[in-house]
C-alpha cells in the first residue's frame, strides 16, 4: 500500500540520509536508506511520534540568560507548550553546565543548563 510508504530526511547527523519507511498499522515495519542504527531508530520514531530536543535559554534572577536543553527529545507537538513553561522559569546564578534547572519540564524530560553563568 503506497500511502504507507514515508520518505524522511534523517536529522540525527549532518549526513542527512534520505530514509524510506514502510508503515503498517502505525508502526514502521521496514526502514531503508539509513546508514546507521541511529537513522533506523529516528525513522521508526518519526513515523509514530516525532520527537525533538528543545534548545533555548532561561532567564536568571540577575537579568542574564543562560542556555538550556531538554535532556531528551520531547514530542514535537508539545514543543510550544513546553516552551511556554520554559519561558516562566527563572534560575539563579551561579549555574553550571549539566545543572538540572527543572526536573520535569514535560514529556518526562528535565531542563538542563548547557552553559556556565556566575
Amino acid at each position: 500500500m503506497s500511502e504507507n510508504i514515508k520518505n524522511l530526511t534523517c536529522i540525527e547527523c549532518p549526513m542527512g540520509c534520505s530514509i524510506t519507511v514502510r508503515v503498517e498499522n502505525g508502526v514502521a515495519i521496514e526502514v531503508s536508506g539509513n546508514n546507521c542504527v541511529r537513522g533506523k531508530l529516528y525513522a521508526e520514531n518519526e513515523v509514530v511520534c516525532p520527537k525533538r530536543v528543545i534548545t533555548t535559554t532561561v532567564r536568571l534572577t540577575n537579568g542574564d540568560v543562560v542556555s538550556v536543553k531538554t535532556n531528551m527529545p520531547v514530542e514535537k507537538s508539545k514543543v510550544f507548550e513546553i516552551m511556554q513553561k520554559i519561558n516562566k522559569v527563572v534560575a539563579s546564578a551561579p549555574v553550571r553546565i549539566g545543572d538540572v534547572l527543572v526536573e520535569d519540564i514535560g514529556c518526562g524530560a528535565s531542563l538542563v543548563a548547557t552553559d556556565d553563568r556566575d
Binding site: 535559554t57 532561561v58 532567564r59 540568560v65 519561558n87
Partner: protein, 476 residues
C-alpha cells in the same frame, strides 16, 4: 531670548553656528532629527571642489574658490580629516577634450590655481587603472576630499564647546513674528525666541521661508546613489576622477575617501520627497559608468551601497541673502554642489556681512577654534595609546574590530558635543561598524554601551531616533 537661531544641522548650518560662536552672541541650532548631519551632509561625495565648474561671476564660483582655500585650515582646527588629493576631469571623446579647455579657462577666470591639461600618457602615469579609452584630463591640484558629516559634527561640536546650544528632534512647525524678532515653535510644542533666524534647512528651506511669508523660491531634490568599496582597495585610484561634464550633468565620480575607502557614484534622479532608497537600476548605472572610467574596478570588495539627497532651488544658484519678506530672516538655500566646499566661506560671509548688519559683532575673548582633540585611537603611537589606556582602561577594549574602534572612543562620542544618542550617531562619530562586517559583530555591544551610558534599557536604544528601535523586548 537667543540672538540667532540656525534652523538645520547640516554643514551650512553647522559651520555658520561655529562662525557665530566666535562672537558674543547667544546662539542655538535646531535640528528636526535625532542627530545632526543627517540630511544632505550625511551622504554626498565629500569633494572639496577646485572651482572650475561654476559659471563665472556666480555665487557658486565665488564661494567655491574661497571655500577651497579655507578648507585645510578649518579641517585642521576642527580635527577633521581632509586630503588634498587633486582631481581629474577625464575626457573620452574629442568633444570632451574641447570641453576641458573651456573648463580650464573658466577655472582660471574663477581664480583656480594650477589647472593643467594632461595628455593620455600623463593621465595614465597619475592613474594607472584609468580606462584605455581615456584621451586626457584636466588636472586640478587644489581639489580635495573631506568627510561631510565629520565636518558638520565637528563644527557643531566646536560651536557648542564655545557656548552655542543644540536642540535635536526640534522640527519647526511654526514661526511667529513679534516685536523683537521671532518665536520658533516645534511640532512637539517647544518654543524658542530669537532676534534673527538663519534658514539652513536644506530641502525644507522653502517650507521654512514660507512660515515668514517668503515665497520667493522653491526647492527640489535629486537622489544620488553610491557604492562604497573596502579600504583594502584604497590605492585603486588616488585622485578624484570625474567624467567631462555634458548637458546631462557632471555624472558619476570615482574617488578615494579620507577614510581610505573607494567611493563610486552618485546617480542623479529627481526625488522630490528626499527619499534615500537605493534602486537596482541606480546601482547598475553606477557600476556601468565606473567600468567606463577605470579598468577592473574591485567591485567584489563592495561593503555597502547607499543614497543621499541633494536639494536645489529653482534659481539654480546659491541663495545667500536676507529674506525679502523680513530682513532679520536669512535664507541659505539651494546650496547644492559645490556647497560643501563653499560652506566655510558662506559661513564667514553670512556672519560678518549679513548678521553684522543686524546685530553688533563683538569677538569672544575666549573663543577656542580647536575642537577637543577628536583623535582616532588607532592613529596614536603605542606610547600614547598605553598612556591613554592607563588613564581610562576603556581605550584598551576594541569594540569594532574592522575599524579598530575602542570602547573609550564610543563612550566619548556619547558624551562629547554634539552628543551621540543613537547607533548611527555613534557610527558617524567613531566609524564603529562602518567596516567590512558592517556591525555584524559589534552592533549588540554598541547597543549595550549606549544603553549603559544613556541609562536606558536596550529596547530604548535606536538606530536613528524614535521609531528605529533595534530590539523589541526581552526573550522571556
Amino acid at each position: 531670548m537667543f540672538d540667532v537661531i540656525v534652523i538645520g544641522g547640516g554643514v551650512i548650518g553647522g559651520l555658520t553656528l561655529r562662525e557665530l560662536s566666535k562672537y558674543n552672541l547667544n546662539c542655538a541650532l535646531v535640528e528636526a532629527q535625532n542627530d545632526v548631519a543627517i540630511g544632505q551632509s550625511r551622504a554626498n561625495s565629500g569633494i572639496v571642489h577646485a572651482g572650475y565648474d561654476a559659471k563665472e561671476g556666480s555665487l557658486k564660483a565665488k564661494f567655491n574658490v574661497l571655500g577651497n582655500k579655507m578648507m585645510p585650515r578649518v579641517a585642521k582646527e576642527l580635527g577633521v580629516k581632509y586630503r588634498n588629493n587633486g582631481s581629474l576631469v577625464v575626457a573620452f571623446t574629442n568633444e570632451d577634450l574641447v570641453t576641458l579647455q573651456t573648463l580650464k579657462a573658466r577655472g582660471e577666470t574663477n581664480g583656480v590655481e594650477g589647472l593643467t591639461i594632461l595628455s593620455k600618457d600623463e593621465l595614465r602615469a597619475k592613474e594607472p587603472n584609468i580606462s584605455d579609452n581615456a584621451l586626457g584630463a584636466l588636472y586640478a591640484p587644489t581639489g580635495g576630499i573631506i568627510c561631510p558629516y565629520e565636518l558638520t559634527i565637528a563644527s557643531i561640536g566646536n560651536a557648542m564647546d564655545n557656548g552655542a546650544k543644540l536642540y535635536t528632534n526640534f522640527k519647526v512647525s511654526e514661526i511667529v513674528k513679534n516685536q523683537d524678532g521671532f518665536t520658533v515653535v516645534s511640532e512637539k510644542g517647544q518654543a524658542l525666541d530669537c532676534k534673527v533666524i538663519i534658514n539652513a534647512s536644506g530641502l525644507s528651506c522653502d517650507k521654512i521661508a514660507n512660515m515668514v511669508g517668503d515665497y520667493s523660491f522653491k526647492m527640489g531634490a535629486r537622489k544620488g546613489e553610491y557604492i562604497l568599496l573596502d579600504k583594502e582597495n584604497s590605492n585603486f585610484v588616488s585622485h578624484t576622477l570625474f567624467f567631462t561634464p555634458t548637458k546631462a550633468g557632471k555624472g558619476i565620480l570615482v574617488t578615494q575617501t579620507v577614510d581610505n575607502n573607494i567611493l563610486l557614484g552618485p546617480t542623479s534622479t529627481e526625488q522630490a520627497d528626499g527619499s534615500t532608497v537605493t534602486s537596482e537600476s541606480g546601482l547598475a548605472f553606477v557600476i556601468q559608468k565606473v567600468k567606463e572610467m577605470v579598468k577592473n574596478p574591485p567591485l567584489f570588495n563592495t561593503i555597502t551601497s547607499f543614497a543621499g539627497v541633494r536639494a536645489y532651488c529653482d534659481r539654480h544658484d546659491f541663495i545667500i541673502e536676507k529674506s525679502s519678506a523680513c530682513e532679520n530672516f536669512i535664507n541659505l538655500a539651494g546650496i547644492e554642489s559645490p556647497g560643501l566646499t563653499s560652506a566655510p566661506a558662506i559661513a564667514e560671509y553670512v556672519v560678518k556681512e549679513l548678521i553684522g548688519s543686524l546685530l553688533p559683532l563683538e569677538e569672544k575673548a575666549d573663543f577656542n577654534p580647536e575642537r577637543a582633540p577628536d583623535y582616532f585611537f588607532k592613529n596614536l603611537t603605542n606610547e600614547e595609546k598605553t598612556q591613554l589606556i592607563l588613564k581610562n582602561p576603556l581605550y584598551g577594549k576594541i569594540v569594532c574590530r574592522c575599524e579598530e574602534i575602542t570602547e573609550g572612543e564610543i563612550v566619548r562620542a556619547i558624551h562629547e558635543n554634539p552628543p551621540a544618542r543613537d547607533l548611527d550617531a555613534v557610527k558617524r562619530r567613531t566609524r564603529a561598524s562602518m567596516g567590512r562586517c558592517q556591525g555584524g559583530f559589534c552592533q549588540p555591544r554598541i547597543v549595550e554601551i549606549l544603553a549603559r551610558e544613556l541609562g536606558v534599557d536596550m529596547t530604548e536604544v535606536t538606530k536613528s531616533g524614535e521609531g528605529s528601535e533595534l530590539v523589541w523586548g526581552k526573550t522571556k
